[in-house]
Amino acid sequence: MRGRPLSDLKPGESATIVKAPQNNERLAEIGFVAGERVSIMRVAPFGDPVVVQVLDTPVIIRRAELAEVLVS
């Protein structure tokens, strides 16, 4: 199954990760691994960063870093 980048998700939308980022180990370590549910909760006033719900907790993260996480 081909996924789309997590950064394309709209606020309020949730999805399941199909592929963990390959070059950003920390992202995988905090829970961006295949099978986990994620959702974009909030977007900052100037469009970046966003708050992503992962492992049931909200994490602030810049959009550019989410491009490598594929979801479906």
């Binding site: 180990e25 920390r26 492992l55 907790t57 993260i61």
Partner: protein
């Protein structure tokens, strides 16, 4: 030889509550907060009533594969690769019940190390609100080591944990080192194990409703309301610091003046000692001491913002403003803590993910307006802006002064990141913690610590420098100065020299004589100051600062403040006290506003006040900060560069403001 102490280390994710557990176990008072990265150094304590057991608090990390300097400290200690240290005998792995999966990731890595583990379960209250219940015996069974709950850190919970610590005696087994390369599949493998543990040990009872935190965040992180709320919060803080402290400050000021007058009267027979006490100690160190209320209010708000978890929201709202400069989002917290003091700010730059990003953060941290600049702002705003524009504008000016440093720091950060250090993009991750009611004892402790630190500074460094400055302003106190002062006065008043001397001795005076005598006394004091070591030196350096609008008195005070900023205020206090007759107990600000030039015009005005404050906002007048930069970067060169860059910036920008302002006026 004394037997080796048992070493117990605390490990866990950022903001999992390690330091709270540490404080409970050791009866210590380390600083805690509600955001990631409060602890950036290892802290050592000993278990209460068990001096043979030492407890090590470590910076939080998500993984043993460190991604920043503070995390490297943790993984080196835990893996036994830290210089001169053996592996700990026992590791307390902090399990955040509201974030259990992520906590277990690090725990599984620790288990692979082969060190005996004890789980410390925290935040079960937050988990319960989300409808999650942790089955402790089931968790123990899955993990294969004891787990102890300490959410509330009650005496009972802490004693139970202490009992487990003291009774565990297993020596560390030689576990395998973690492999240095972890593939994504390996991370996923660990998470599969974790999922299996969670299924057996955690029960989801109810579906969580919209939590209080997310309802507050819907407002506080909203695109529009969030920014309005941020502006209101920061504005409110500055208004409280400015206006709220006034009455207390005035009371302290009046008390100091009364003390000065009282001691001055007692010591009348010993003029040098009397001057030392009232002009040196009270007018010097005392004029800094009156700013105690402002410092306490500032730290009260900092502590409340830290405790509630709002700082992470502020980082979220403001990240884009940092982003264009190439600063990593994590820089927000070190920079924000630099508003209290640059030193903890520089230390907390250890949370930065790369060395270069850390360096850029350290180099601009001293430009954030620290609490030592507060007395200077409040003094000049109170003397020159508030009387004309009112308290609201005064508070706005105080806020504005804090923006000056940021406005200069941002382009500099851009230059450092994009052109000089060429800092690459580095990942930014920050968990959004649950809101928490500020824990009052923590707030009280923070304010108390800040107040005692401030009083210690006033009592030691500033006290000592005040005495030196007083001595320089008092001596040599020559007879020739007195004589020429008398003859100048005699000439201008059309009197004979002997009549002038007689006036000085006379005690019963009519109204005109009283005014004359005061004029004479003030003239003599001014002459003594002008001929003092300080005056001679001041007039020599005055040309350097003249273009900025500074006279010799301001110039001397600026130079005296290079070791520590507050000395500026104490030096002005001394200068204006030695030139004033004792019976004029006006506050320093009033004296500054009343000071006249030889042609009778006011010596200082709003434009000069602005020039002075901008100089202070930008200048590197703090030896401790420079020493900290040198230590943290391991380089004298960078510390010197910071000093030169900031001092030149201060000079050039103050110069521009003063000259442009003069043209416009």
């Amino acid at each position: 030889m004394t037997p080796r102490r048992k070493r117990v280390a605390l490990a866990g994710n950022p903001n999992a509550g390690k330091t709270t557990v540490f404080n409970a176990l050791c009866g210590a008072r380390q600083k805690t907060g509600n955001y990631a990265g409060v602890t950036v150094e290892r802290k050592l304590g000993e278990l209460k009533q068990h001096p043979e057991i030492e407890i090590l608090d470590l910076p939080g990390t998500y993984s043993l594969k460190a991604k920043s300097t503070d995390e490297a400290i943790t993984s080196e200690v835990l893996m036994g690769t830290a210089a001169g240290e053996e592996k700990p005998d026992l590791v307390l792995t902090v399990l955040d019940a509201s974030n259990l999966k992520r906590s277990l990731y690090l725990t599984l890595q620790l288990k692979e190390l082969g060190i005996p583990l004890v789980g410390v379960l925290t935040m079960t209250d937050i988990a319960a609100r989300r409808g999650l219940a942790v089955d402790v015996p089931a968790l123990e069974k899955q993990l294969g080591f004891p787990v102890c709950e300490v959410t509330m850190a009650t005496a009972e919970q802490v004693n139970e944990l202490a009992r487990i610590i003291t009774s565990s005696t297993r020596p560390p087994s030689e576990g395998g080192a973690t492999r240095s390369r972890v593939s994504a599949s390996e991370v996923e493998e660990r998470y599969r194990v974790i999922d299996a543990i969670i299924r057996k040990a955690v029960k989801q009872s109810t579906q969580p409703k919209n939590s209080v935190t997310s309802r507050i965040d819907a407002f506080l992180t909203h695109r529009v309301f969030g920014l309005v709320a941020f502006a209101l919060i920061i504005g409110g803080v500055f208004f409280s610091i400015y206006a709220g402290a006034r009455p207390v400050m005035d009371a302290i000021d009046a008390g100091m003046k009364a003390l000065g007058a009282f001691l001055g009267g007692k010591l009348e027979a010993y003029p040098v000692t009397a001057s030392l006490v009232s002009d040196g100690v009270i007018a010097g160190a005392g004029s800094v001491f009156v700013f105690l209320p402002q410092i306490m209010i500032l730290f009260f708000f900092i502590s409340v913002l830290e405790e509630t978890g709002y700082l992470a929201r502020a980082a979220f709202l403001m990240d884009k403003l940092l982003g264009w400069t190439g600063l990593n989002g994590r820089a927000f917290i070190p920079l924000l803590s630099s508003f209290a003091c640059a030193i903890p700010g520089i230390l907390s730059a250890r949370v930065m993910p790369t060395d270069r990003a850390r360096m850029a953060t350290i180099l601009i941290a001293p430009l954030m307006s620290c609490s030592a600049r507060l007395p200077v702002y409040v003094l000049f705003i109170g003397a020159f802006i508030e009387p004309r524009a009112g308290a609201l504008w005064a508070a706005a000016a105080l806020f504005g002064m804090h923006l000056v440093g940021i406005a200069v720091a941002m382009p500099l950060a851009w230059l450092l990141n994009r052109k000089i250090l060429k800092t690459g993009e580095s990942p930014f991750l920050l968990e959004l913690p649950e809101y928490r009611k500020p824990y009052l004892p923590n707030v009280v402790r923070r304010v108390y610590d800040a107040a005692t630190d401030f009083l210690k500074r006033v009592g030691t460094v500033i006290f000592a420098l005040s005495i030196i400055i007083w001595a320089l302003a008092y001596f040599p106190h020559k007879q020739t100065t007195h004589d020429s002062g008398i003859s100048t006065f005699a000439k201008s008043a059309g009197l004979d020299k002997t009549d002038v001397e007689a006036l000085l001795q006379k005690t019963k005076l009519n109204e005109t004589e009283t005014a004359k005598k005061r004029e004479l006394e003030n003239g003599l004091r001014a002459a003594y100051l002008k001929d003092s070591f300080l005056g001679t030196f001041g007039r020599a350096v005055e040309p350097v600062f003249r273009p900025l609008g500074f006279d010799w008195k301001i110039s001397v005070a600026i130079l005296a403040a290079f070791p520590a900023r507050e000395v500026f205020v104490s030096t002005l206090g001394i200068i204006f006290s030695v030139t004033d007759a004792k019976d004029d107990p006006a506050a320093l600000g009033k004296k500054l506003a009343a000071e006249k030039k030889s042609d009778g015009k006011p010596a200082y005005d709003m434009l000069l006040a602005l020039s002075i404050m901008i100089f202070f906002a930008l200048c590197a007048q703090c030896m401790s900060t420079l020493a900290t930069i040198r230590r943290e970067l391991g380089s004298t060169g960078w510390a010197v560069a910071v000093f030169i860059a900031m001092t030149s910036l201060a000079y050039v920008i103050s110069l521009a403001v003063y000259q442009v302002g003069k043209k416009l006026a």
